[in-house]
Symmetry: C2
Subunit: 279 residues, 2 copies
């Protein structure tokens, strides 16, 4: 059991993590750090934290684990600001969608008493903010943690122990592999959904059937958050986009040239892959 | 009220239409026509039809309205086969996803006692077959009907009266416009979903989060059915694909060149459009 987990940033992910930790009795206390006192009050009211503070030193001075749950671009500067206040053998981790840059920056710059572990629960919602938080958010999800040659193995075990009861499975991989996989399976689908909505003529949008609504539901997500995510992983995202494009050009050629056999084979294969995944 | 509605093809759409007509007491009897006696038995057992037959003449000889609910490529040959058996002032309609070719072929070739009206309820599911049918399938959906200079206005009013109680709204448009809009908002999203699944590396598929599952749920749909649909509307689909591509290339350039302002503007606009649609 943890003595104190501090959560920095009480949006959808930070708030839900606090609720889940408290529901599973994983920590004696969950402390919230936010710039807004109103967010802290709301988080306490919803049972996401035991106590909140706007004072960084006070928030992390006695923490076993500090989880930074802010938008991706704030992770490195906030980590560097908080680490000096953290106690001996404490652990800093995060939940950001892109890991390469963050892990590279933070595994090198932590003070000696703090170990950094990159983390990324593959959970979310097109909603955001503490009001959308719920203790069950992570239950069906994977949590990805990163390991490099520099990673403190004890700290990795501790962060795994924090997430394991809250998610379906914890998977450890190196940050570059993380960024490649997540570009394919999360960042690209989000960008395609935004693109499809924006490229569809308004008169067609007006008759949107369920298939369109489902395929584009993630385009309801916070555009500022996702713009940051796309740019934080732009190189892997562009590569994933090129993989998609190669296939897309083939399909269009098959359509134009009436190659029913090839298109049919591709659809059957894709359908079988998708059918093997959850509904 | 209709004396007899005959439904040809008792899959998801035909079966659900029979159930909905019977639940709303729109016809004295609903007759099913299928090549398979086992499908007719299952349809009767589920309340999708009052009686079934494998005999075309018997099925349509006393019908006010015959609805062809087969896959798209079978509509024209089946319509041409059934029309000679149909009574005076009777109406033939269909539910196929593409309308241009079907309406062109059938408005010209019907015998004088039969009027053809193109129809397309914008409802469906990644499931198919009579076992997936349900009376509520159409409730939240639009039903698109086609009208051209040749269209019999009385027949159009009658088919509208059949669908109106079963759907959210009936919308009439010309077949070319139908095919353009539906290419953008249904056929393209389906093709993109199949493409995304097939282009994603297996190792990435293995960690697929909810966003990927949602964006690709329609790729669980029957590949043979969708191959037919794509080819039946390939020219409008290729045009919709080009609209998508232009936007997609812009987004990739903005990513590569770090144009945060332009990408951010696009995401905000797309999010606002999607946000105005149902969840």
């Amino acid at each position: 059991m943890f003595q104190q987990v501090t959560i920095v940033g009480l949006g959808l992910i930070g708030g839900s993590l606090g609720m889940a930790i408290r529901r599973h009795h994983l920590a004696r206390r969950v402390i919230g750090l936010s710039r807004k006192a109103s967010t802290l009050r709301e988080a306490a009211r919803r049972g996401a934290i035991d106590e909140g503070t706007t004072n960084p030193r006070q928030a992390v001075g006695a923490a076993d684990v500090v989880v930074i749950a802010t938008p991706v671009e704030a992770v490195v500067p906030i980590a560097q600001r908080l680490a000096p206040f953290m106690p001996a053998r404490s652990i800093l981790t995060d939940v950001a969608s892109t890991k390469g840059g963050i892990v590279r920056a933070l595994e090198r710059s932590m003070p000696s008493q703090v170990s950094f572990i990159g983390g990324h629960p593959l959970a979310g919602s097109e909603q955001s903010g503490i009001r959308a938080s719920r203790a069950e958010l992570f239950e069906a999800s994977l949590c990805l943690l990163t390991a490099t040659a520099r990673t403190d193995r004890r700290a990795l075990r501790v962060v795994r122990r924090l997430w394991a009861p809250l998610v379906r499975r914890v998977v450890v991989m190196d940050p570059q592999r993380h960024d490649r996989l997540v570009a394919s399976v999360s960042h690209l689908p989000h960008l395609l959904a935004f693109c499809l909505v924006g490229a569809t003529p308004p008169r067609a949008v007006a008759i949107a059937p369920r298939s369109f609504l489902e395929a584009t539901r993630v385009a309801r997500s916070d555009p500022a958050l996702w713009s940051e995510i796309f740019f934080s992983n732009s190189s892997a995202l562009v590569t994933a986009g090129e993989q998609f494009d190669r296939r897309w050009r083939l399909l269009r050629d098959q359509l134009v040239h009436g190659d029913r056999a090839a298109l049919g084979r591709f659809l059957r294969r894709a359908q079988a892959i998708r059918h093997a995944l959850p509904d």
